[in-house]
């Protein structure tokens, strides 16, 4: 039982990260209609921004977290203007090449400025432990889960109730009709990119202290994020959250009760099965609200 609870906690931490990264990916797809191949790099750049604020500039951890989210929101807006906007409504191949180009640019940029070697991103919460009922984790891990849940709740409130959130949902369904209803598509596009990048920054800054920060972290992250996004249904926000946690728990429990050799296989087995039997994702685009 103890073991099970510990493994569930492990799975929740993994799931939080998957969910935060996938949320941005799915929102950008939902609203802007493009698949952002550079999303793993958003996460990586966000982690480095958090690292610079917290470690190099010595700001308190939560200030660094909020700071990284704000800086990356601006970064998201710039990327939307410079890269996404010219790609809007272009053939798929252009979008793939455009966003892949951005991904290479950010990865190499990080390699050049921060160096390829991993760096440690200590936070005071990595040295504080919680040991209850024989299970054990750092406060930082608890923070990952809690902050993720809070961010998801706020995002949900925003999307459901706020005027801009409604506009985002409208745009994700019919961009043209939305613009004919007087919605300023450009604002919605910018705010979507800002939210997506800022969630990626939150993921990076939350996870940085638990793991290490290096440019390559984007590569492993993006594979999982795509799996989660497809699993949850492209453009489906709630689907991304549920799929993120599902994958995290599945991985953790697979290691615990089956074999660590199968950890990655499970993720992609779930993905392939879903694609075969329910190509629109577990939740599809129609049963649950899109963005």
């Amino acid at each position: 039982m103890q073991n099970f609870i510990q493994q569930v906690m492990n799975g929740l931490v993994l799931g939080s990260v998957y969910a935060l990264i996938a949320l941005g990916l799915t929102m950008i797809y939902g609203v802007l209609g493009l698949i952002n191949w550079a999303h793993g790099e958003f996460y990586m750049v966000g982690a480095f921004v958090g690292y610079i604020l917290a470690v190099r500039m010595g700001l308190p951890y939560f200030v660094a977290l909020v700071g990284a989210m704000l800086i990356m929101a601006v970064f998201g807006i710039v990327v939307e203007r410079v890269v996404f906007l010219p790609l809007r409504g272009r053939p798929n191949m252009n979008v793939i090449i455009g966003t892949l180009g951005l991904s290479v640019f950010l990865l190499d940029g990080a390699n050049l400025t921060m160096g390829p070697d991993p760096v440690r991103f200590p936070s005071i919460y990595t040295d504080q432990f919680i040991r209850v009922l024989g299970i054990s984790f750092t406060v930082q891990r608890l923070l990952v889960v809690i902050v993720t849940l809070v961010l998801i709740a706020v995002l949900r409130l925003f999307i459901r109730n706020h005027k801009l959130g409604k506009a985002m949902r409208a745009c994700s369904q019919d961009l043209q009709a939305a613009s004919l209803m007087g919605i300023e598509i450009n604002h919605v596009a910018m705010i979507t990119a800002a939210i997506a990048a800022s969630l990626a920054a939150a993921a990076g800054t939350l996870i940085g202290p638990i793991f290490l920060v290096n440019p390559q972290m984007s590569i492993a992250a993006v594979g999982k994020a795509f799996a989660v996004t497809i699993l949850g249904g492209l453009g489906n926000v709630e689907g991304a959250v549920v799929a993120g946690f599902t994958l995290g728990l599945a991985e953790s429990l697979t290691v615990a009760y089956i074999s660590s050799y199968l950890k990655e296989i499970v993720a992609f087995a779930i993905l392939i099965t879903t694609l075969v039997f329910k190509p629109e994702g577990i939740f599809g685009k129609h049963s649950v609200e899109k963005v």
Partner: protein, 389 residues
């Protein structure tokens, strides 16, 4: 702005001066004996440019020292460096160029096992002796290639040395292994597990992870529940440091063990103290009393302004092994004969002192090398083996 005419003139002058100086140099060296050419293949750009650079520095230092003593048999030596960027295809091209165009006497290299496995067919075909100081895949010396010599311990060698040490000096009953899911990691687990079982002890957990993984809580939780006395980390420093840290976080307080990569200062830095007490193997240590090592460390620090590490040491040692063989082989007019003589001399090398310990090649060309066994204590390494050095 410089005018086009001026620029053309400058270019012309440059070309002329290069030609003239080339002739002068050629004229001079005719007077002396021609230098002996040694080819070096390594990753001087690309993902392994850093260790490749260390390797190059080790070679430069050894060449400089040997030439300062007057070279070998009255000839200077020159190293010709060819970059393979860790790409097997580029490595093959480098070997082709060095053996056929540059006509080097001997090749040293490379860094990646995949590159050596690819280009060793070229050196074998050209019957050119090769010393491999770094790449550790067993297949390199197991393939029956008569021209391949390796002056470092292979993985199985260092793993079984570690296992023997731990089994002899500690009374551990239950072992766990967490290793990367690659040939490298699985090979480590295989050899270590076999030693443990042979000693009548138990392997309670064999867990794998993938390169690039960051979270090991699931594996470590499982391991913790199986209650081992010691945990072997079969991987490199990035993942290894995370495993050490997360094991500490989970309260998995067992003896940690690891291989070469975990003896580096980067590992210590990334661990943030979680490596305290960890025992691992090491190819090279600066802190020994061995006079040969002391001399090397001093010279290296003087030339490059930083302490040497294992790749520099291995490459440095390889040049001295080459020196010994070339000296023994004597003078030959014909390059093919000369290469053959050097190969035969290499095969006969016995107990040649070096910065990584004495070298004796077996019939497969593998040197019988011992590695250090060290333990992290307060961010410093304490040498457990060999004792009394």
């Amino acid at each position: 702005m410089i005018g086009t005419k001026t620029r053309a003139l400058v270019a012309l002058l440059l070309v002329v001066s290069v030609l003239v100086s080339g002739l002068l140099v050629a004229g001079c060296s005719k007077a002396e004996k021609e230098p002996i050419k040694i080819g070096v293949i390594g990753p001087f750009t690309g993902p392994n440019a850093k260790p490749g650079g260390r390797m190059k520095e080790g070679i430069e230092l050894a060449v400089e020292e040997i030439n300062a003593k007057g070279g070998i048999n009255g000839r200077k030596i020159v190293a010709i460096f060819e970059d393979d960027a860790s790409q097997p295809a580029q490595s093959v091209a480098a070997a082709e160029k060095l053996t056929t165009r540059d006509e080097v006497l001997l090749v040293i290299g490379a860094y990646n096992s995949a590159c050596v496995l690819a280009h060793m067919q070229v050196t074998e075909r050209e019957k050119t002796p090769q010393i491999n100081p770094i790449a550790v895949a067993t297949a390199i010396t197991e393939s029956g290639n008569k021209y391949m010599f390796r002056n470092c311990a292979t993985n199985p060698m260092q793993v079984s040395q570690l296992a023997d040490y731990v089994l002899k000096n500690f009374n551990f009953q239950k072992f766990a292994m967490l290793f990367e899911n690659t040939d490298y990691g699985r090979g480590i687990a295989e050899v270590f597990g076999a030693s443990v079982r042979q000693a009548g002890k138990q392997v309670v957990a064999e867990e794998a992870y993938n390169i690039g993984d960051t979270d090991f809580y699931s594996q470590l939780t499982k391991i913790k529940n199986l209650g081992p006395d010691a945990l072997l980390i079969g991987g490199n420093l990035t993942e290894g440091s995370q495993i050490a840290r997360q094991a500490r976080e989970l309260g998995l307080n067992v003896q940690l063990m690891g291989l070469g990569g975990l003896s580096s200062p980067e590992f210590d830095q990334l661990c943030d103290g979680a490596n305290e007490g960890l025992i691992c193997t090491s190819y090279f240590e600066v802190g020994t009393d061995d006079p040969l090592v002391k001399k090397f460390v001093e010279a290296y620090e003087k030339k490059f302004g930083k302490p040497p590490e294992m790749f520099a040491a291995a490459a440095y040692e390889a040049v001295y092994i080459a020196e010994e063989a070339i000296k023994k082989a004597g003078e030959h007019k014909n390059l093919a004969e000369w290469r053959q003589a050097v190969r035969d001399a290499l095969a006969k090398i016995k107990d040649l002192p070096g910065v990584q310990g004495p070298t004796t090649f077996d019939e497969k060309g593998q040197a019988d090398k011992k590695v250090y066994i060290v333990q992290w204590k307060n961010h410093e390494k304490v040498i457990l083996y060999p004792t009394g050095k």
